[in-house]
């Protein structure tokens, strides 16, 4: 039997006529910075104005193209009704060289629905390697969106909320037409939709600490009394800084956003 062992090498003959590996560019490019009008977070834009998106991208061999994809991220609280003037635009920009510094101007449409948007930026190198995408979140206001008038607590000071205590607010959410829905959440301050992981990501566990949703079924709810919101801070909550976020939606699909910080102790 042993004399036939050489047959095992037969299949390898097919491979023998294969050419050698050529030098491969397998390194993906990177998007190193992303900003709107010089800011990389908490950006608010007014409908009808111009904004400048600043992108820095790098590649070890040569960049090829950068894509900017702007659209809304009005999360899942839509209930089937839609705002029809959501701003969305796509731009593909050819680039070259090992580093690109882009300044792209975009006009925010005058009629743009108010709410949270993002600019998603992707980059490619000449070999087709893809950079991990980067995004920047911004808020568009058009003057028609719901507004927040919080009289208490005074968020300009540090607000303390002991565990087990009741936390509430005074004031009102107002809209010129009709308020439809208000969502109030309290979540850890580092807990964003997409948190940047400088060391490859942080772990920050589960969803928000508190979430309350108020539906306003009437046709002309122009005001919502914030004293309706009153919660007990769980005794097992982790000590630390939290964000109080309010998202209010009106009948036109405009979103108003409010964000403040409290310290749970």
């Amino acid at each position: 039997m042993r004399k036939y062992i050489w047959l095992l090498a037969l299949p390898l003959l097919l491979a023998a006529c294969d050419e050698g590996d050529n030098d491969q560019d397998l390194n993906a490019p990177s998007i190193d910075s992303l900003a709107i009008d010089g800011h990389d977070h908490d950006v608010r834009l007014q409908a009808g104005t111009e904004m400048e998106l600043q992108v820095t991208a790098k590649d070890d061999q040569g960049l090829q193209e950068i894509k900017v994809d702007i659209h809304d991220i009005f999360d899942g609280h839509d209930h089937g009704k839609r705002a029809l003037n959501k701003w969305s635009t796509v731009r593909n920009i050819p680039v070259s060289g090992k580093e690109a510094n882009l300044q792209e101007s975009f006009q925010v449409p005058g009629q743009a629905t108010a709410g949270r948007y993002h600019a998603l930026v992707q980059a490619l190198d000449e070999a087709g390697n893809e950079a991990p995408f980067k995004e920047i979140i911004f808020v568009v206001e058009n003057g028609m969106q719901p507004t927040f008038n919080v009289t208490s607590p005074d968020f300009s000071q540090e607000v303390h909320a002991p565990k087990g205590s009741t936390f509430g607010m005074q004031g009102a959410v107002e809209d010129q037409q009709d308020l439809e829905e208000i969502l109030i959440t309290i979540k850890p301050a580092h807990h964003e939709d997409h948190d940047h992981g400088d060391d490859g990501g942080h772990d920050h566990g589960d969803g928000p600490l508190i979430e309350k949703d108020f539906d306003l079924p009437g046709d002309s709810d122009t005001s919502f009394d914030l004293s309706n919101f009153s919660v007990t801070i769980p005794t097992d909550a982790e000590t630390g800084h939290y964000h109080v976020e309010m998202v209010a939606k009106d009948g036109e699909g405009n979103y108003g956003l409010f964000k403040a910080e409290i310290h749970i102790m």
Binding site: Q122, A127, H196, G201
Partner: protein, 781 residues
């Protein structure tokens, strides 16, 4: 006469059904006796089956059997637990009486465990490596998809999306390169798509054969990488038989129930099988995952919206007479499977962090409905056999998601049909076999016609019509005692036509853009194969197989133009692609001793024009899309092999080892092919024993080691290695009237968080299912 009435009832196949009037005459009886080759005593309970159709008999207490046969050339197959299965060729009525000796095997080797087979699986006649897989209850119930049930075999993998959606991968090839045949008819259901699973319920499948290499010669275009053949159920014994069983899986609260009812008469039989399963969102051993440098939560270790429902039915009627056998089958497979939201768009903490109802199958999800009607006919014409498989399938696939998640603002949120694909397939296969001057010949024809209609607010592929027809001739024979040979050739003609497809440009209702140009192309191909086997002694078997297979491109490769959400790729077909062709060499070296089976199966293949998706270096102009990937052709080399060892040191103990590796190279890019399985090996220990008169129990433990996969295609992530532990226990209580079986299986016992290279959720860095304890109870009468 009842047969006549029944076949008339089946109407649809009346023409075929009537054929048994002509056949089935002049039958006589083959008489045989079977003895133990060592002791010489008669052997009762030996199962005797015929290679053609489904005739079978058992030896009586005197070791004797009778089989009514028409004149002709037959392959007889004999098997009994504890004995090495044996084949016999005979010319009837020249050989009216046969006497056979069975060699006891102290071991229950993989081959000998086989309860019943039609074809000699890994015998010396077949020069490719063929696995005969018999799924027992525990195997069937522990897999949620058929592809998953194949995974423990060397060289076989599955590409899965969560737990309910999976397709088989043979030696690194998958999709439209692997043919799945259900009783001879190719299963058709959009197999080109990465996350398109196989619409076959493992609870409905008992026996399979897997050919681990290029098999386009006999099975056509789709079999360039291999074939999974779902074989007909065994013909029921006389009278009524049935089974009822329940399944529970702890990881995702999976509940399943399956029933089988069968009746066997002298000439007629029927089998009915029904099953229903549902499962909740599955759990993973991780509380967060890293997506595109962002850390996202996995609330309560549960992957949102990965629940599913699954139902299937199979009804079969069969008729057996000397010289004529027929089976008529209807089967249905229905599935609704939820997809993790990050699999069809960017995962967001506010979305994936709130898991909601763990039981419901929300959006996004897939809904599959697959109906199949088919018949198998074996007709004896004079000395020769004509076999016909004919059938019709209707596969309806619906991918549902919220239109607003993909920017379709103008649509109402109730319009969730993103992609609806309705595929109808008619197929007809015929084989005519004869034996002359020591050589077996088979002349076969295959014909298939498909119509696919695409709907939905997304666009990926156009509606199309596709036809394929092939004609082949195979032959096999012997050269002296030790050598066997086979050879064959095939000619094939195919055509693919799709109209010019236009859609509106994204949200712009007034626009119209061409997404795919009109296409009308013929494809001509041929295939060759030849093999040799050499069995110098009962210990050694060596086989060499050479093939030139082909594959006709599918519509997605020629005409697709749309975004694959999740990968964000904009995939673009190229209308000018040609059929793939290549050369493949396979070698099998087998060593068999009473307590040891060892097998080594290296292979190599080289394709001139393998079709693959190549990054174009430019972005799509569609929103929500990344780079454009174009289907291109390039030379590809694949090298690999499997090792298998089954050792049986003492009667109750089994030690099985298998290892597999495949290396691929795309000659244009110099890189590997995507979804190439990493090196993997598996060790299993099994102890099985009789206890008292009516009890039998078994314990098993299996360890799998999978190495890292560093050799990837461009923009495909490399995947770290992992180790998994599995254990099982089973106890059977056997009474003359009924059998009860309780089985337990623990999968991923270490609750290891691992990434699977061949998983659709790999790109999201989502780990696979965590620890899963599976309990099954079965009652059989």
């Amino acid at each position: 006469m009842l047969s006549k009435e029944l076949s008339a009832l089946v109407g649809l196949f009346m023409m075929l059904g009537g054929a048994h009037l002509a056949a089935g005459q002049n039958s006589a009886v083959l008489r045989g006796s079977v003895r133990d080759a060592i002791q010489g005593n008669p052997l009762p309970g030996v199962k005797v089956t015929l290679a053609h159709g489904a005739r079978k008999a058992h030896t009586d207490t005197q070791g004797r059997f009778n089989l009514p046969l028409a004149a002709g050339h037959y392959h007889l197959h004999l098997s009994k637990p504890g004995y090495v299965a044996t084949e016999l060729e005979l010319e009837f009525p020249r050989d009216k009486k046969v006497s056979i000796s069975l060699r006891p095997s102290n071991i229950k080797l993989e081959e000998a465990v086989v309860k019943e087979r039609w074809d000699p699986a890994n015998g010396r006649e077949n020069t490719q490596e063929v696995l005969q897989i018999n799924l027992d209850d525990a195997d069937q119930g522990s897999a949620t998809s058929l592809a998953q049930a194949l995974e423990k075999q060397a060289g076989l993998q599955s590409l899965n999306t969560g737990v309910g959606i999976a397709k088989p991968v043979i030696r690194g090839l998958l999709g439209s390169r692997v043919a799945v045949l259900d009783q001879g008819m190719q299963q058709e259901g959009q197999q080109w798509g990465q996350d398109h699973g196989l619409a076959l319920d493992p609870l409905q499948v008992r026996r399979m054969q897997v050919i681990k290499g290029a098999s386009a010669l006999q099975y056509g275009s789709g079999a360039i990488g291999g074939v999974v053949k779902v074989q007909p159920d065994p013909v029921p014994d006389s009278g009524w038989q049935g089974q009822l069983r329940t399944i529970y899986k702890s990881n995702n609260q999976h509940r399943g129930v399956a029933g089988r009812l069968a009746w066997g008469g002298k000439r007629h039989f029927f089998i009915a099988k029904l099953s229903g399963q549902r499962y909740d969102d599955f759990r993973v051993p991780a509380r967060s995952f890293l997506y595109n440098t962002y850390r996202l939560p996995i609330t309560d270790n549960t992957l949102k919206n990965t629940a599913g429902r699954l139902g299937s039915a199979r009804l079969q009627y069969g008729y057996l007479a000397p010289g004529y056998h027929a089976r008529y089958t209807y089967s249905y497979y229905g599935q609704a499977a939820g997809l993790y939201p990050g699999a069809t768009g960017i995962p967001r903490a506010y979305d994936v962090g709130v898991i909601g109802d763990r039981r419901d199958v929300g959006l996004p999800r897939q809904e599959i409905g697959h109906h199949k009607v088919l018949t198998r006919q074996h007709i004896k014409l004079g000395d020769h056999w004509l076999e016909i498989d004919a059938g019709y399938q209707h596969s309806h696939r619906q991918e549902r998601s919220l239109p607003h998640n993909h920017g379709f603002e103008e649509l109402d949120s109730s319009q969730t049909l993103a992609l609806g694909l309705r595929l109808q397939t008619a197929s007809l296969n015929a084989r005519y076999s004869w034996h002359t001057r020591g050589t077996d010949f088979t002349l076969g024809g295959q014909w298939q016609y498909q119509r696919n209609v695409a709907r939905g607010f997304e666009y990926l592929i156009p509606s199309y019509g596709r036809s394929e027809s092939g004609l082949y001739l195979t032959s096999k024979g012997a050269l002296g005692e030790a050598w066997r040979w086979n050879a064959g050739l095939r000619g094939q003609h195919g055509s693919l036509a799709s109209p010019r497809s236009t859609t509106r440009w994204w949200n712009d209702f007034d626009s119209l853009v061409i997404r795919s140009p009109r296409l009308d192309r013929p494809f001509m191909s041929y295939s060759l194969a030849a093999g040799l086997s050499y069995e110098p002694s009962p210990l050694w078997l060596m086989k060499l197989h050479l093939a030139r297979p082909f594959r006709m491109p599918v519509t997605a490769e020629l005409s697709s133009n749309g975004v694959h959400h999740g990968t964000f790729r904009h995939e673009m077909g190229q209308a000018g692609l040609n059929s793939e062709q290549g050369w493949q060499a396979e070698l099998t070296l087998q060593y068999l001793r009473p307590k040891l089976l060892a097998r080594l199966s290296p292979y190599a293949s080289r394709y001139e024009n393998f079709i693959f998706l190549q990054p174009s270096g430019r972005f799509s102009s569609l929103p929500d899309a990344g780079q454009v990937y174009e289907y291109r052709q390039a030379g590809v080399t694949r090298l690999g092999g499997e090792a298998f060892l089954d050792w049986h040191p003492v009667e109750p103990l089994h030690v099985a080892y298998s290892g597999e590796y495949v290396w691929t190279r795309n000659h244009r890019t110099g890189l590997g092919l995507p979804f190439t399985p990493p090196f993997s090996q598996r060790l299993e220990l099994r102890w099985s024993q009789q206890w008292k008169e009516h009890w039998r129990w078994a314990l098993s433990v299996a360890y799998r080691h999978t190495a890292a996969q560093e050799r990837t295609a461009r923009n495909e992530k490399s995947t770290p290695g992992y180790q998994l532990l599995q254990a099982g226990a089973r106890i059977t209580w056997q009474r003359p009237q009924a059998t009860w079986t309780l089985s337990f299986q623990g999968q991923n016992l270490g609750n290891t968080a691992y990434l699977k290279h061949l998983s659709r959720y790999r790109i999201l860095n989502l780990p696979e299912q965590g620890r899963n304890l599976i309990f099954q109870l079965s009652y059989q009468f």
